[in-house]
Amino acid sequence: MRLLEVTDLRVSFPTPDGVVQAVRGVSFGVDRGRTLGIVGESGSGKSVSTQTLMGLTRGATVTGAALFEGRDLLTMPREELRRLRGARIAMIFQDPLSSLHPLYRVGRQIVEMIRVHEPEVGREQARGRAAELLGLVGIPRPAERVDDFPHQFSGGMRQRVMIAMALALNPALIIADEPTTALDATVQAQIIDLMVRLQREFDTALIMITHDLGVIADIADDVLVMYAGKPAEYADRRTLYYRAHHPYTTGLLESIPKATGTRERLQPVPGQPPSLIHLPPGCVFHPRCRHVMDRCRSEEPPMLAVAGEGHRSACWLPGAAVGPGAEAERLRDEAQAAGTRRRDKGEGDVAPAD
């Protein structure tokens, strides 16, 4: 049994402007000690998905299933879910300054985490554990710093505090929602190293949400790419980097600055993500896709197996068209040409937006 198994999760929010379909049928899972990376730009539904699992999205309509240790997080009573939060599933957020309560000492915030779930632990004992945890995440002089307020720490140190708090009750799963985005590049690397080290030490499962494929490359076992509330591609890390199938994934990979030394222009993905209230028909990515075909405009591609069950992609391009190679490029062009010919017969001339 997997530690967490999410099936066909859908989340929508009613707003005065219409229903925002934030997540539209996403499935993923993670095993003990493994790391799942979820990648996507703002509004792709990556944060909403995980916060929904934790019961932190209020006023949302949620369907699907999310089995954690065999129990469905989406249907269990609120009180039961609350007991899991922090204790079995912990979260780390993007901005550690705004995520820590400004008016309480960091020690007290960690103590609260411990005592909410283990009321039998005494105040002094919990304080001792808080100091230990601060030491564990590499904060110097933890016994003194436990009495400091969040504003007395630097950004990286604050994120270490958040990590210490997340680890306090030795959770089975940690969900890290862009934990390094608000930090300096050098500090980012330190935090990632720390998380990897602690994950190994505690055999914790980790879901790492990010828009930075570089972070994923460092730590993820499997990667889920999301676009406009839907899964675009799912694969293990190596496959995703070397044999990506979905044009959106390819686009993301091409938009990473390369450390090769040659001066090249970055290739951005043209256009903008669609409104989640008024979604384009067919494949949601088609208005920005380089290889758009006729059926992309009307038929929504499901998550099709690309090469075996482990690699799935929501794209109509042929399964063999993977990776950046010339052969794959030829297959894509062929498919697109065939699609274009078909379009010439019927519908009007719709050029791909770029």
Binding site: Q51, M54, L56, R82, R83, L84, R85, G86, A87, A90, M91, F93, D95, S98, S99, L100, H101, P102, L103, E112, M113, V116, H117, F149, H151, M162, M165
Partner: protein, 321 residues
């Protein structure tokens, strides 16, 4: 660190008070001895009295000597004498202070509790009928003038409740709680509610807005993600942070109101500072006006000082600033 912060604030408060007293002095004491003496004596005093005041207060002395005497008097609590009532100003203020003090103290407890509770309930039930009901109450409270509300309360107490046999409430002169606690309550309950009702509306609105802001903060999400029970999320994490602007407003309000709750005191006939001030303005009793103005500014400055210090306990980030 904290001592330095405190000293700085106290010095600042002292400077403000000095500026206020100096301004008052300049406003009232600059001019020919004749004009000033006439101002102090009051418009209806005979010329003999004016001459006597001129001599007694040394109004013909150089201005700086007078200024020194004025400040020296303040330091010793000597605020001069009301020549109209033939009573020291200090005594008049001292007699009027308890009514205002008790009125503000009682009402402030009521409005703080009700306002904060109302604001929290409203914010945690935002956009439901509870919230809408509270908003309706707030709008009514804010737009209802105090004197209308006060008169309405007196009318209900005397013409509706009393004939029904409930004659506990009565408007009337202030009675010290140490002299007669029951009579004190009979007199004070209506003014308390009258003053508190309007203020409750303001505090509900303030708390609601502040709470809604805070409940949207990232650290509230963190608290929920930690598995903190919702009640503790709202109170321990939310309200604790949302109270800061409420405390500020409270300090300002208390300071202002202690200077005299003019309308409420008048409607219910309480002999407080507000009443004293109205009377002295009407009679042109300058020494009392000066004394009351200085006392009111002391209240405002001191309450602001208390708020500043309270702030540093409420928000650790302030202490270092």
């Amino acid at each position: 660190m904290f001592a330095r912060f405190l000293i700085r604030r106290v010095v600042f408060a002292a400077v403000v008070l000095w500026l206020v007293t100096t301004t008052v002095f300049i406003l009232f004491y600059v001019g020919s001895a004749e004009t000033v003496a006439r101002r102090i004596a009051g418009p209806r005093a005979p010329q003999a009295v004016v001459e006597q005041i001129k001599a007694n207060l040394g109004l013909t002395d150089p201005l700086f000597t007078q200024y020194r005497r004025f400040l020296g008097g303040l330091f010793h609590g000597d605020l001069g004498t009301s020549f109209i009532l033939n009573t020291p100003v200090g005594t008049l203020l001292w007699q009027s202070l308890p009514a205002t003090l008790w009125l503000v103290a009682g009402a402030s407890v009521l409005w703080l509790v009700a306002g904060i509770a109302g604001g929290v309930v409203s914010a945690t039930h935002a956009r439901t009928w509870i919230d809408k009901g509270t908003t309706l109450f707030v709008l009514t409270g804010v737009s209802l003038p105090t004197f209308v509300l006060g008169l309405l309360m007196i009318f209900i107490a005397l013409s509706v409740l009393a004939p029904l046999g409930f004659a506990f409430l009565k408007p009337g002169a202030f009675v010290s709680p140490f002299a007669d606690p029951v009579e004190f309550l009979r007199v004070m309950i209506m003014p308390w509610f009258c003053l508190a009702l309007v203020q409750t509306a303001v505090y509900t609105r303030l708390t609601r807005g502040s709470m809604l802001d805070v409940l949207g903060e990232d650290y509230i999400r963190t608290a929920r993600a930690k598995g903190v029970p919702e009640r503790a999320v709202v109170y321990r994490h939310g309200l604790r942070a949302a109270l800061t602007p409420v405390i500020t407003q409270f300090g300002v309000d208390i300071g202002t109101l202690l200077g005299g709750v003019v309308v409420t005191e008048s409607v219910f006939g309480l002999q407080g500072l507000g009443q004293l001030m109205i009377r002295s303005v009407r009679d042109g009793d300058l020494p009392v006006i000066i004394g009351a103005a200085i006392l009111a500014s002391i209240f405002i400055v001191v309450s602001n000082l208390v708020v500043d210090v309270a702030y540093s306990f409420l928000d650790p980030r302030v202490r270092l600033a």
